[in-house]
Homo-oligomer: 392 residues x 2
Amino acid sequence: MTAAFSCPVFLPSTFSYNGNRYHGRIKIKINATSSTKVKTLNEIAGAGKGSSSLATSTEIGHLSQEQIRQRIPTKKQLVDPYRQGLIIERGVGYRQTVVVRSYEVGPYKTATLESLLNLFQETALNHVWMSGLLSNGFGATHGMVRNNLIWVVSRMQVQVDHYPIWGEVLEIDTWVGASGKNGMRRDWLIRSQATGITYARATSTWVMMNEKTRRLSKMPEEVRDEISPWFIDKRAISEDVPEKIVKLDDNARYVNSDLKPKRSDLDMNHHVNNVKYVRWMLETIPDKFLGSHQLSGIVLEYRRECGSSDRVQSLCQPDEDETLTNGVEQSLHKNMILTPGIMEGNGYLGPLDVKSYGYTHLLQIKGDSKNEEIVRGRTRWRKKLSTLPNSS
Amino acid sequence: MTAAFSCPVFLPSTFSYNGNRYHGRIKIKINATSSTKVKTLNEIAGAGKGSSSLATSTEIGHLSQEQIRQRIPTKKQLVDPYRQGLIIERGVGYRQTVVVRSYEVGPYKTATLESLLNLFQETALNHVWMSGLLSNGFGATHGMVRNNLIWVVSRMQVQVDHYPIWGEVLEIDTWVGASGKNGMRRDWLIRSQATGITYARATSTWVMMNEKTRRLSKMPEEVRDEISPWFIDKRAISEDVPEKIVKLDDNARYVNSDLKPKRSDLDMNHHVNNVKYVRWMLETIPDKFLGSHQLSGIVLEYRRECGSSDRVQSLCQPDEDETLTNGVEQSLHKNMILTPGIMEGNGYLGPLDVKSYGYTHLLQIKGDSKNEEIVRGRTRWRKKLSTLPNSS
């Protein structure tokens, strides 16, 4: 129901809702109060005194100006013509049509993984936007704001079968479901609008955190009543037993130290953006491998957030045993739900045709006494066709 | 008529079309030939042999698959429903409605300069897309492809009066005009869709380069016949005498050395993206200044392109004499064209209300014997309102 990708939380596999203090360093309120709204508008107006048209037209009032400019719906909308969004799935799923933009593609004119992650965040927020439940925060509902709750993501998994190309029209479906008693799952499917072929799937897990105490929170009845009518029992990626990601240590093959978040890496919550994490992870893999392989899947397990003053270390380790990797990859493929594309024979022809390579990742903050994990990751890769022998 | 921002050219104020060899290092053809198309599609199909639905449905043929996925128009279109684009201005201007996405805003929920630059590139390319003139390259027309010509940008200027906020609906107008005998100007205006207030203006200058000889080229009659019907004699920014940007040397106040382009910084031409240049420039300014000021304008003069193996140095120097800076800034404001927003009193109240601060920038490649300029820049800044005394 949200997309605060930038605000991950420490989430052990079993955790207590009492006393599990979150180590975050959020510097501004995520759910804007009246005073932060005014401050934001001052920022927006921007120019020196009297030089800004927005600053001088005071008769409208600051708060309503932001409302006029954003126009967040207060009631459920079925169609959003500006975002090309549509409520589907008996009124609770969301579909948005997007065109792959020129700056969202990389050297091969194909959309980058970062662009896909950005589109996941965008469509998730637009889904909440359409629901009429969006408060002024980053995906929080009215009930969450009343309870000082924000969303934090604990896990994200993406599988990319085909990368969209520049100018291609895509349909992105997203929906939410229950995840245990107090969590929420959000899934995505990206399809070609022209052919209907599924290009990518993703799933994520979310929990709630009290913004003031920084502790994980149970989902209040009030919030459950808001969001549970939107739950759909359908999965983009069916995985019986989530693969456990081992924790790397200083013996990891590749280490990139002293990574420093820059001003341009911070999002509207003043946090290092989730996409930046992925960039740090992938940049630690040797260039030669990146040049000859294409990412087919990624799993991220978030442990804690990263502030703007932290120094980050990125570690990664290639799998030694390719056979093992392929076994895991194949079992993942077998467990995928049957989408129309697969059923029509457009999908995977068999386990023997899949050759994949795996990397394990860790981002951590180097501390004086001990290191603190930010996120663990697993990436899977396939060889680019043009580097295979006998490729056309 | 295009937006190859990533492919700047060395362009002295007077230059010879003969013998002025361009020092670029383009690694792939920008205007795809049949063979590069196939290679690109192999990249797109991506997965190992037989594991990709796109790779296996060979009956359609590779070339037509890319065409099906991109659907570049071969005739002029008046409306593009997917991009929300529209041909305006008696059939030759282009207007696109866009919504500011969640990942396009920074810490204050306002769109970043990088996002605006990206939207300029995107709308320029979509303008060519709609014209029916787009070949498969990065904004090149059919006549340009026949003559092995590509676009290179020599100058770019942006003025931002107000930064759009997350979720705001914008109208971006873009059009082209003549620039001398052999050049082209492309301008942009960004307006609030809700209020009609102009938020930002931009102008850019383009010339043609022979892709094979790397030399600047006159505009062939064939190409002039294609694009001149699209020329409009209107300017987003009226500037009588373009400010000359001085070249910084090693005495510059702030220097950031050993900047290295990363894989994720390369665009579909395998060049360092224009936006990355701006990021390198701005990151060299001290954090304290960036935290209390907002960029109001930028001018970029491109000298040569930057390849993926270059080591880049970013220099910048604040203006010593604020009075002088303000004088220049004010003359710029006085020369701006009268847009509806300004005429209705929504604009600048007078020179005395504008306090701006200037920085001069230089990006260069550190060579063994000498340095090579990539781009010179000038940025202008205003204090953020919230940091002023007595601000609300």
